[in-house]
């Protein structure tokens, strides 16, 4: 029996209460779980004579592909008449701060986008609810997730979401300019990258061949740095007890910060605008041909190579991260806020329909996840989707499926994801920029970051 049948049966509003309990028992849903869906008395099942009025779900996202989201919502509402979805979107750069204000002010928010690096903070504050407590059926998906995806959506051993998309940070380069410079393969080590970039500079093909997403305000900047640390012989930031190791002499982090500092100030292969560059300016710099190498989320390769987006589209390739190829993987997911369960069983049931439609399987397929992958090149957290022919065809148009898949296998979740990670993240971005600008040594910057971590871990600020 496929999962979709279970969900269809359980959430079919025309089933009677007796039929619902029978179906639940038939598919191994525990009686308490089924009853929790029904409620203590009246339950969510309507009597024949009752008309169902439209229930409203408040869905909050960051502003990416809003027209696609709206189209998906229309499909969902067509499939499940009686449920209306009210969509609100905010800029990615302000999303965290905006959502906190919404949670505290109790602005109606039932389902929202969340991310692995906010989960600990939001779950600890009681703003998000674990899906597996309310919807045991969600556990069936775990075996299909990559390990870093499951890790990114788990807090206190509970699963808090279904993936919106999962991706990795990927090394990208302009193959055309690289060949012009006389190279036929991307750099395999960071030292080789320096060499290739210097040759490109000498041949006046680019003033600063490398551009990186290091804007202090962009949450992605710490992920780029971390992916470079991981690639340094599978480097780590913390030990198994979450004590910092990145400030130790000879650490992968130390080598990374030194390399970046040298690239900015000595070899000058790193574009100074990297310190204020968020995602879109980096993409634009690559599309303009002013930069040759970068590290971006994999889905940006689809944008770079999309026909008509720039004169250079089609010239961009993805390579594995230099050195050990390890990189950061992350997951953004659909989360349920604590407001949804308090709105009653019927709305809660609608919430599950929504979550499962957008992040789960319907009739054996992941319709929305597949659409994002095929249409926008967004990565996914489900292993089984690598066998999807439509995704394979779509990804091969702008990338190399073999390398994309390998990159995902090398991906690791961000280290240090705790409720105080966001505060350490913001602090660290500033300290890293101090080091890059030469205002303090890499050792001093990393030492301050380690001290901050220890202070936060011990309950300080």
């Amino acid at each position: 029996m496929s999962d979709s049948r279970i969900h269809e049966a359980l959430f079919n509003p025309t089933l009677s209460r007796r039929e619902l309990l029978r179906e639940a028992a038939r598919w191994g849903i525990s009686v308490p779980a089924a009853l929790s869906l029904l409620g203590s008395g009246s339950g969510h099942v309507l009597a024949d004579h009752e008309q169902r009025s439209n229930l409203l779900l408040n869905f909050v996202v960051w502003s990416y592909g809003v027209s696609t989201i709206q189209s998906n919502i229309k499909q969902f509402e067509k499939r499940y008449p009686g449920t209306e979805v009210n969509l609100t979107d905010f800029s990615w750069l302000n999303y965290h701060d905006t959502m906190v204000t919404r949670f505290v002010g109790k602005t109606p928010t039932d389902v929202c986008y969340s991310s692995d690096h906010w989960l600990q903070e939001w779950a600890a504050a009681g703003w998000l609810e674990p899906l597996d407590t309310y919807f045991p059926a969600v556990k069936q998906y775990k075996s299909d997730f990559f390990p870093y995806v499951t890790a990114g959506m788990t807090y206190n051993r509970h699963l808090y979401g279904l993936p919106y998309y999962a991706d990795t940070w990927a090394f990208m380069y302009n193959d055309h300019i690289l060949k012009k410079a006389g190279f036929h393969a991307p750099p395999r080590t960071w030292a080789e990258l320096t060499h290739q970039a210097q040759v490109i500079q000498k041949k006046k093909l680019s003033d600063h061949p490398l551009i990186l997403l290091f804007a202090q305000s962009d949450p992605g900047s710490i992920e780029v740095w971390m992916s470079m640390v991981y690639s340094q012989q599978n480097g780590h930031l913390f030990d198994s007890h979450l004590n910092p190791v990145f400030d130790k002499k000879g650490s992968a982090a130390m080598a990374t910060v030194q390399w970046i500092t040298d690239s900015l100030n000595k070899t000058k292969i790193l574009d100074p605008s990297s310190l204020t560059a968020a995602e879109i300016p980096v993409v634009k710099a690559m599309q303009a041909g002013s930069s040759v190498f970068t590290i971006l989320e994999t889905y940006n390769l689809a944008e770079l190579n999309a026909p008509g987006t720039s004169k250079l589209s089609g010239q961009f390739r993805m390579g594995l991260m230099p050195n050990s190829h390890h990189t950061v993987g992350y997951v953004r997911f659909y989360a349920m806020t604590s407001q949804l369960p308090s709105r009653g069983k019927e709305v809660l049931a609608d919430g599950w329909k929504f979550l499962n439609y957008f992040g789960g399987r319907i009739n054996g397929r992941y319709p929305v996840v597949e659409r994002w992958a095929v249409q926008n090149g967004l990565g996914f957290g489900e292993r089984s989707l690598w066998n999807n022919a439509a995704i394979d065809r779509a990804f091969n148009k702008w990338g190399n499926v073999g390398i994309l898949r390998k990159n995902q296998e090398y991906a690791r979740i961000k280290e240090g994801l705790t409720k105080y990670y966001p505060r350490w993240d913001v602090f660290s971005r500033g300290e890293l920029q101090h080091a890059y600008l030469g205002q303090e040594s890499p050792a001093a910057a990393l030492s301050k970051m380690a001290d901050k971590w220890r202070s936060l871990k011990n309950g300080g600020s």
Binding site: P272, T276, P422
Partner: protein, 308 residues
């Protein structure tokens, strides 16, 4: 009986007459209380308690611990420095350029009347839009400023304005100048137009050069206006947030992370309302000290009592 009824009515009307003004003020007082006193009181409450949004389960009273903690952070010293540097850069620029613009607009030149309209335009543009505009102008890779300077041969490489601490502060100060120039210019222009022409004429007849007229007559008489402009622009510079939010995000390397930015981060990014409220009071105290300093330095009542 009639007399006592009449005297009761007249006492009642006297009471009504006394209470009337208070009744008329009541709606305003309620609004002020709701939108000023209540938030102020709540901010005091927050600053004296541990109030972290991600810990909604306890808000113990901590006294001045929040103030001690924020002052003890490295970030506070850095943001105090950033605020001081930014204020020292922006405020004198605004005062000087505003005065020069006002002097130009106060002439009888034909272009002056046109400029009087044009100079007000930045005031009409929201700060967020102004921030985006100047971010594009100062863009490291495709900004118009870089292009003009490069084309004119002034620079040989594009300057990463927003990626280096000093140039980022300068870029912000220029954006602030552009935004605040209308206010300074209009105030100085109004001040210039209250100066009796007879004093200036008398000085010219006595052989004073234009510079001496400006320095010994116009500047002292403009002191009250200058005080208003200085105080207002200093307050604005210290509390600048929107331009920084858009143009630099507090970077690079916290160079533009002024106190108001730090207060925003503590409250909305670090979710520590206690710290944010404490910082707000520190900013308010700082401004009060500066304003009192200005008032002392630029005492203008002497101007009108000398010689009387």
């Amino acid at each position: 009986m009639v007399v006592s009824a009449v005297s009761r009515r007249s006492r009642a009307s006297v009471r009504m007459g006394r209470l009337g003004p208070y009744g008329a003020l009541l709606p305003t007082l309620i609004i002020i209380g709701l939108f000023s006193l209540y938030p102020l009181g709540y901010a005091v409450y927050l600053s004296l308690h541990e109030y972290v949004l991600t810990n909604p389960f306890g808000h113990p009273f901590t006294g001045l611990q929040n103030v001690q903690e924020v002052i003890g952070e490295d970030y506070f010293r850095a943001s105090l420095t950033a605020t001081a540097i930014y204020t020292v850069m922006a405020v004198p620029m605004i005062v000087v350029v505003g005065l020069l613009a006002a002097l130009l607009l106060n002439t009888k030149l034909r272009i002056a009347s046109f400029l009087r309209v044009v100079i007000v335009l930045p005031w009409a543009i929201p700060s967020v839009v102004a921030g985006i505009l100047w971010q594009w102008l100062f863009s490291d890779n495709y900004g118009v400023i870089n292009d003009l300077l490069y084309t004119a041969g002034v620079i040989h490489h594009y300057i990463p304005w927003l990626s280096q601490p000093n140039t980022a502060r300068l870029a912000l100060a220029v954006a602030q100048l552009w935004k605040e120039l209308p206010f300074a210019t209009i105030f100085f222009l109004a001040g210039l137009q209250t100066i009796p022409p007879g004093i200036v004429d008398a000085a010219v007849i006595d052989g004073a050069s234009p510079f001496r007229v400006f320095w010994h007559i116009i500047v002292p008489l403009l002191r009250p206006v200058a005080l208003v402009v200085l105080v207002y622009e200093t307050v604005l510079a210290i509390t600048t947030f929107d331009l920084i939010f858009i143009m630099t995000g507090g970077g690079p390397a916290n160079a533009t992370g002024v106190l108001s930015w730090y207060a925003y981060q503590e409250t909305f990014t670090f979710l520590n309302l206690g710290h944010g409220a404490a910082l707000s009071f520190i900013i308010a105290v700082l401004m009060l000290v500066l304003i009192l300093g200005y008032l002392r330095l630029l005492r203008s009542e002497d101007l009108y009592t000398e010689g009387t």
